[in-house]
Symmetry: C2
Subunit: 344 residues, 2 copies
């Protein structure tokens, strides 16, 4: 098999140039890249990931684990795409590649991770969709595989993590709604074991307490974090004795179904039920009325997540000593049209 | 470094059992798996992807290439999640893993692919977001990397492909709308170079011809295939002299923005502008009125895509001789509430 040295000799180019050409770097001109690739085929050079892997003892690849069959992951397309862009920015500095590993809906997330770890497709992983008690932390520790997590968990231990400020936005939402005249405020949280549910509820409780409003389990709704979940929640709100005048939704997609269900009942979102949802998204921006929600800088979050991971990799840790060990990520309110004052 | 043989000897288990335990197979009981993983850590066994790679000369990993910064890819979350499930089903039969490779929005899709190929992170790839003229086919051919594509292109050559029946659904939509009394039917297609645009337009033309309706370039709208794109298209529809009474949308997310823009103008989707969109999705199902659209079996499509790829891999080709070389994937109309008869 022709190696990179033979290829460089044949082309009378430096190994560095050939390597950069093979790796599609921008600092190699198009003509040179063309020459290198043609010669590679001609001489039977097989750019070999295995060679690279053995030499460094690593794959130079980081895996982001996404979990399907969990509407929290599945419906968060633009969330993950945003985060991934920032992640790649951080990882690219050190020529690390990012791959997404998808745990399909008929596989257990723990066994899936175990399989990925055993096969060493990647050198390090980023966990998402953390559960309050989550076995995966232990699996990674046992395998000595570096990792960071997007989401908190009781199983965190000394792992590095970033999580959205779920308590903060729930609390701020209740206070905002109360300030606008609402005294009976419902909340919708996930019906699956996801650590963000209890956090969101805790902020909701604090907000009620701040406003001197009672907590009523009857208007805490647990549902799928999807359009359908929102539709179901709206149905239940309509059936509630002493109907709430406002609701907080943990996921913006829920608002699509909620809007429809209100419409079917001849009610208008906003006017007849004030709505605040967790996160700004294109769908929420184009609903009528536009959703009041919370915005965050996904790209910056992704970059910090990447840097946190780098601070956990021996080869790069030194450059990332300033990166925090854990971070509650702030979100900022975006005023929409879905939560007007009660008696406007 | 401790290899799998030493590990098996130490545990007095067969190499097969140890391998299955390390790979998280269900047929190894939990206690044995525990023992194997503990011993692996104790003896310093590093399950080594490189070893595996060298032995077979492969990585046993297949990459699905997704392109960001292209609203067609970015907004098609539930589309890709559905396809991926089927893909994994087919690939798992042969212990091939699927990873997603994301071309970020500031990277050129051609250089991205070139980089992935040069680094041999995967043995084979699945292309998506094909352009009418697409350099990537040539890149893969030059590198001798097996591939299949989700989407057609003029650059296909002898590559295996699956694509949705864009001509068919556009044609059927025009005929349906005409049958419901519409004589002036607009269409919205992507404003980027994506091969599905011309296909959709061709079906639209054929439908008009079938119905004896004239083609009018003034009501062919090119826009981003997103909520915002739909909002813009609706704005243009409202400004059109001799306003269309119906519209076909190439992407269902466009309907969210279109509904909002009509609402802002005091108009009702369905009653004031009939709408048919390409593909069934949760958002469309919960819009009011519910979208009329087209459904396909994503899981079956993903499985066939996987089988097509297997038929292109020398190690597995023999078992997949019956898999077609190309396939126009059928879609079925799902009646919604967004395209009632014109004078109902």
């Amino acid at each position: 098999m022709t190696g990179i040295r033979q290829l460089a000799n044949h082309l009378q180019l430096s190994i560095g140039t050939v390597s950069r050409a093979l790796n599609g770097k921008a600092d190699v001109n198009a003509k040179t890249r063309e020459r290198v690739l043609e010669a590679a085929v001609e001489l039977g050079y097989v750019p070999n990931q295995s060679g690279r892997s053995l030499r460094k003892g690593t794959t130079s690849t980081v895996g982001l684990i996404l979990t399907q069959g969990n509407s929290l992951g599945e419906n968060n397309d633009n969330f993950f795409f945003g985060v991934i862009h920032g992640l790649q920015t951080a990882l690219k500095r050190h020529k690390l590649d990012l791959v997404l590993l998808l745990c399909s809906r008929d596989e257990d997330p723990d066994s899936f991770l175990q399989r990925m770890v055993a096969q060493r497709i990647v050198d390090a992983v980023i966990l998402t969709a953390t559960r309050t008690h989550d076995e995966r932390f232990e699996i990674l520790r046992r395998a000595n595989m570096p990792f960071v997590t997007l989401g908190r968990s009781d199983s965190l231990g000394d792992a590095s993590w970033i999580d959205l400020d779920f308590e903060g936005i729930a609390r701020a939402s209740v206070r905002r709604l109360c300030g606008r005249g609402h005294k009976r405020i419902a909340v919708a949280v996930p019906n699956v074991d996801a650590n963000l549910g209890p956090l969101f509820l805790e902020g909701y409780r604090q907000g009620l307490e701040d406003c001197g409003l009672p907590f009523d389990e009857a208007i805490v709704f647990r549902a799928e974090t999807s359009e359908e979940g929102g539709y179901d929640v709206a149905g239940k709100v309509l059936e509630t004795a002493d109907r709430p005048t406002a609701i907080l939704l943990i996921a913006e997609l829920m608002s699509v179904g909620l809007y429809r269900r209100l419409g079917e009942a001849g009610l208008l979102p906003g006017r007849d039920l004030a709505v605040i949802a967790e996160r700004e998204s294109p769908v929420g921006r184009f609903l009528l009325p536009r959703l009041t929600c919370f915005r965050l800088d996904l790209d910056a979050l992704g970059r910090m997540l990447g840097e946190m991971l780098l601070s956990n990799l021996p080869a790069f840790a030194e450059s990332y000593q300033d990166v925090p060990k854990g971070k509650v990520w702030p979100l900022e309110l975006v005023e929409g049209e879905s939560d007007p004052p009660l008696f406007a």
